[in-house]
Symmetry: C2
Amino acid sequence: MPQGSVTPYDVEGTVDYEATMHKFGIEPISEEARKRIIDHAGSLHPLISRNIYFGQRDLKWLLDEYDKGNEFYIYTGIAPSGSMTIAHLIPFMMAKWLQEKYDVDVLIQIPDEEKYLIKKDPKLTLEKTHELAYDDALNIMALGFNQKKTRIFLDTEYAGTLYRQAVRVSKYITFSIIKDAFGFSNEANIGSIFYTSMQAVPAFLKSVEAKKNVPCLIPLGLDQDVHFRVARNAIEKLGYYKPAIIHSKFMPSLKGGAKMSSSDPDNTIYLADDEATVSKKVNKAITGQQSTIELQKKYGGDPEKCSVCQYYKFIFEPDDNKLMKIFEGERKGTLLAGEHKADLAKKINEFLASHRAKKEHLRSKVDDFMLKD
Amino acid sequence: MPQGSVTPYDVEGTVDYEATMHKFGIEPISEEARKRIIDHAGSLHPLISRNIYFGQRDLKWLLDEYDKGNEFYIYTGIAPSGSMTIAHLIPFMMAKWLQEKYDVDVLIQIPDEEKYLIKKDPKLTLEKTHELAYDDALNIMALGFNQKKTRIFLDTEYAGTLYRQAVRVSKYITFSIIKDAFGFSNEANIGSIFYTSMQAVPAFLKSVEAKKNVPCLIPLGLDQDVHFRVARNAIEKLGYYKPAIIHSKFMPSLKGGAKMSSSDPDNTIYLADDEATVSKKVNKAITGQQSTIELQKKYGGDPEKCSVCQYYKFIFEPDDNKLMKIFEGERKGTLLAGEHKADLAKKINEFLASHRAKKEHLRSKVDDFMLKD
């Protein structure tokens, strides 16, 4: 893959969001759209107001449909390959807020075959991804979804419903399209080639079930857009609405890379990390600060290059005024790296402690959320 | 595809069975194997004794396992794309006889997605193949399978079980392999590329369910061998026995082509054809006879080139002595085309009338045979 490429299987180097949007026809979330969401929801979630959700496809159409009384549903998901990280929570936080504000259904796919098919790791068996999938389901539930309006499924447990629809989509997707979109070679296995059809299904499944077209909104990380670039045309050929999409940027690695990656454990916060581990990892994080305290006090730092500031911006400081103060402290050099990191570690640990408690509380309620054949 | 090629999606020209066996490593059914089957079964089904089932993979191994007390099961199937023809009955007749003689389970796959994915015909929707699949199931049941030991399923109704196993197989099959085996181009749709994984599953599904290796025997038409050339290695990599296979020749078209094809209705007998239609089609059949009665009486004909003789040989004259007489009559010129055809039409119509009666009788019992998620 070339440097700076963005696919689900490879996010490399620095991501040029502008160039990616231009290349693939993703539009920014307009001021008008933001205003309309404020009209509907009473406020804007920080993930949108801070432009972490930065791009969209057909969002105006979706809001038009909503204004006409045509209720949408939300579809998002996660492919299990290891313990969930805090970065993995972003689409679910977005989905949860949208559900709360718009009072809509949420459909969550956990494709437990995807990483099995893609990764070469012999330890990542289908039994292992199945186990991880149930832990993911609990992590998602712990965000506080409305049980009555939220359903989660594993592909291998819901294939009786999904496969038939995936077959329909797959008829309109050639290997040439997959090869171009995902950069696969002829040596890719045929399960990985077919897989995108399974990911497409939940984007129109409610329409199949309702026997009428139901709009769908997908909050996703930019690397997942490719699945729907491929599927949206196929879905339209089947006679369903193309799903609307909102795209988020990648939460940076603690060392400042393009994307927090679960395959780089030292620079990633897992939901399962204990307090000492979080403190240790955050303490080694790259900040935007100068090399010495003296230089930092004199010249200040750059919050855009500071992974600590970015963690506050992405998740851990929802209050815009407080975030502004943190960014200012970094910029002016009044906020020193040591306390800056210690504060963040404390916030993360508070969040994780509360998250774990919610998770334990919900452990007996998983079946209430799951869809199975 | 080159002339004389043999894949499920294209059987062209004259089939050179010897060359195909040599090319793909298919062995003949040996005299020793025939003797062992007679030892087990008390007789040999005409489809084997007449060398219509002519080839095999691992048959000796399967019979060895059986002699060790390791019971096998039989797997075969049919992909619905139109009304079933008499040629489609061959693997089921074989399976039914083997079940009777060996008292074994039979698993029958009706992949109702396959032709939907392969054919360009817009009328062949999944709804249509589903309807055809249930008619196929009835036609199969009408052959007299033991209900307690026979299960039939449609892929779209059993995907909750099949997809998980297909994913496991598919990890070991690359697009390169599919491209070489089936002659697909990069413009093949990704459902058709994945499909062979679904066809592979029933060859080891009983082993998955029993949690121990169970031998499997697949009676199939030669054009289907390619699926298992691809899948046998993948199945072995998963730790299961490779299925044994016996291969049948193609029942010729009434006009004498390599294979009776459901897409050439005038030269094909459908199970749904009425008496007048059968008589009309058979009356136009190509025989191996001379152009005039005088020449035929003088020089005789060639039963190998006579589709009427071949129909007797394949299905409609199980008695070897009677078949020999028919072949002799053709060879010596004593059997004239008119009565030759009229006799066959009568036999076919008797068979179809009885078949239809059995089918009607079983119409209320379909659910007893079907496997669904």
